[in-house]
Symmetry: C2
Subunit: 351 residues, 2 copies
């Protein structure tokens, strides 16, 4: 009898020696060795004290399409807070209708990732925020033009002064990124899994509890652990078995492009799994739309484990317990352009 | 001495027989002959009783990029509620990075327009809402695919049932449009001009009051009147003097394309002027970025009147009093796709 079946039996028939609550306690204790519930407050971040003024500014910037050269894309375009903090595309569509190289990760709870991007090339969210703004296939803008845009609008200048009161010239590209990081640090989504870790047995269904047990027993939690159930370490995709070029395109060598170390070929940051049920399609390639299928691929490629139907269903059910409650966000009202605001251009410049 | 100068003198020096408040009362009485303040409640619309359930659904649909074939554009992309209800582009960028033919008008207070689009080809907002969803250069979707997308998500099906409780199959393209219209009817922005019309003398500065007087005296209000200060009648652009091909491109014959009547060549719906200071660039061509310049062009092309600097400044100041307070909008949380949801495609199909 598999571990999975015995867990289910124990839970559903109550014939086992352990009662339901005792089972849940045992499972919780084991889970707390590997995972942490979300904190109840906004976390502190490196070199960037978070203040209400910075959050207000960061929210405006996050939603402002004028950070892009074309005036079409904001951070929220690809990290849409209405749809799980991502764009539900294989890879994002950006400036000039160009396709990005990798699937857009969710911004929700991203503050808890050890580093940002699939290859971890940005140390934190304030470094990350500067990337897409400048990427030719995303927002295609320059730091100079972003600053020129922001200083042209008196409300923005006032908001930057409020957010960075000790600085003589607060409207800078770096401060833009810091404000965005401050806002993003508020994007925390407590989920049933947190309630379970915090002591509420009823927060997870029996199948979800069985899935959590399997998630730990099978080894998924070896890479996907911590507060974000992932996002903290780097591992080769296809550690046991190559998932095939469709899912793992040969041209994208992952962290190798950052470290230039052969060992880092096809190495990626373990995906953080909070809200994973909202953020299909999956993997850096965005090639898999079905969560259960993604679980099965992970089983074979990373664990050398052909999960049976019940196991895959239970683990998927557990992953659904990571879908959290979004913070309530009032849509911002942005400053109007002035005569000095650089005009948008959709032109695609090829270098 | 011009009427404008005498108004300014009367206001600023208090030498005239009329005191400031009496002047304001006279101006208000004249203005109330031509304009109406916004109502304090959401207006009723034709054939579409507005309910809270319909507004909730409509808001979700308005912000949902999955109404577009690519999954990139929502209604809010071009009618961005953060930036005056439009996109601040000359003409919108849509599917495949194609440019739309005309400047996107604001959705704010659009419920008060007699008809929708620059040429009035949609009778109301529910008819309008179906246009961009299907336009190849905008969202490039089909009614069938939209319905397939919506029915694939159980939350949407439930929301449609709540919004259209008497219908057996409520998830239809028409009901999508009705829900969007219901949400858009809530997008009403009371402005200082309304406060002035409602009796608050201090709501408009002296220059704004002088501008209002000029707006009526010079004849602007002959076309731009009613609750939306425009949006209710059709007039040739260049009635006195052609503004030039840059501003009035020859290829766009306006309402002629709707009525096929020679008299309707270069005829457009008079622009509704609420929030005009937020919605540069101006005119159907989106070629003019400066509001005062747009006022001057209107003076010469429509009234045969070369406005002097003070007049243009005062009228522009009055137009700024039409910038209203946005309703507070909580950003929606949208349902997640399912296995049955049609996948997004950025492919550009040329017929």
């Amino acid at each position: 009898m598999s571990r999975y079946t015995s867990v289910l039996l124990a839970c559903s028939t109550a014939l086992a020696a352990l009662s339901g609550p005792a089972m849940a306690n045992e499972l919780r204790d084991a889970a707390l060795e590997m995972f942490k519930p979300l904190p109840s407050t906004v976390p502190a971040v490196r070199d960037n004290p978070i203040t209400p003024e910075k959050i207000v500014l960061g929210k405006a910037l996050f939603f402002d399409p004028r950070l892009s050269a074309s005036g079409v894309f904001s951070c929220n375009s690809c990290h849409n807070l209405a749809t799980g903090g991502d764009d539900n595309l294989e890879t994002s569509i950006g400036h000039g209708w160009q396709k990005g190289p990798r699937n857009a990760p969710t911004v929700l709870n991203a503050v808890f990732n050890e580093a940002q991007f699939w290859d971890g090339r940005a140390e934190d969210l304030k470094e990350q925020a500067k990337g897409p703004v400048q990427a030719g296939v995303e927002m295609a803008n320059t730091p100079e033009q972003v600053v020129a845009t922001l200083v042209s609008m008196p409300d923005y200048v006032a908001w930057f002064k409020n957010a960075f009161p000790d600085e003589g010239e607060p409207v800078t590209f770096d401060n833009m990124a810091k404000a965005i990081e401050a806002f993003e640090a508020t994007l925390i989504t407590p989920a049933p899994f947190d309630a379970f870790l915090n002591g509420d047995d009823a927060a997870l269904t029996e199948v979800q509890q069985a899935g959590l047990q399997l998630f730990m027993d099978k080894g998924c939690a070896a890479c996907h652990n911590g507060v974000n159930v992932g996002g903290t370490g780097y591992y080769p995709f296809g550690v046991v078995q190559n998932p095939g070029a469709e899912v793992l395109p040969e041209g994208d060598k992952g962290r190798f492009q950052v470290t230039k170390t052969a060992d880092d070929s096809y190495v990626f940051r373990a995906g953080p799994l909070r809200n994973i049920a909202l953020t299909a399609p999956y993997f850096h390639s965005g090639k898999v739309w079905d969560l259960k299928e993604a679980v099965e691929i992970m089983g074979s490629s990373q664990l050398g484990e052909e999960l049976n139907e019940e196991e895959a269903v239970a683990i998927t059910a557990f992953l659904e317990s990571l879908t959290g409650r979004m913070p309530e966000i009032t849509y911002p009202v942005l400053p109007a352009e002035t005569a000095r605001t650089p005009r948008p251009s959709g032109e695609v410049i090829t270098k």
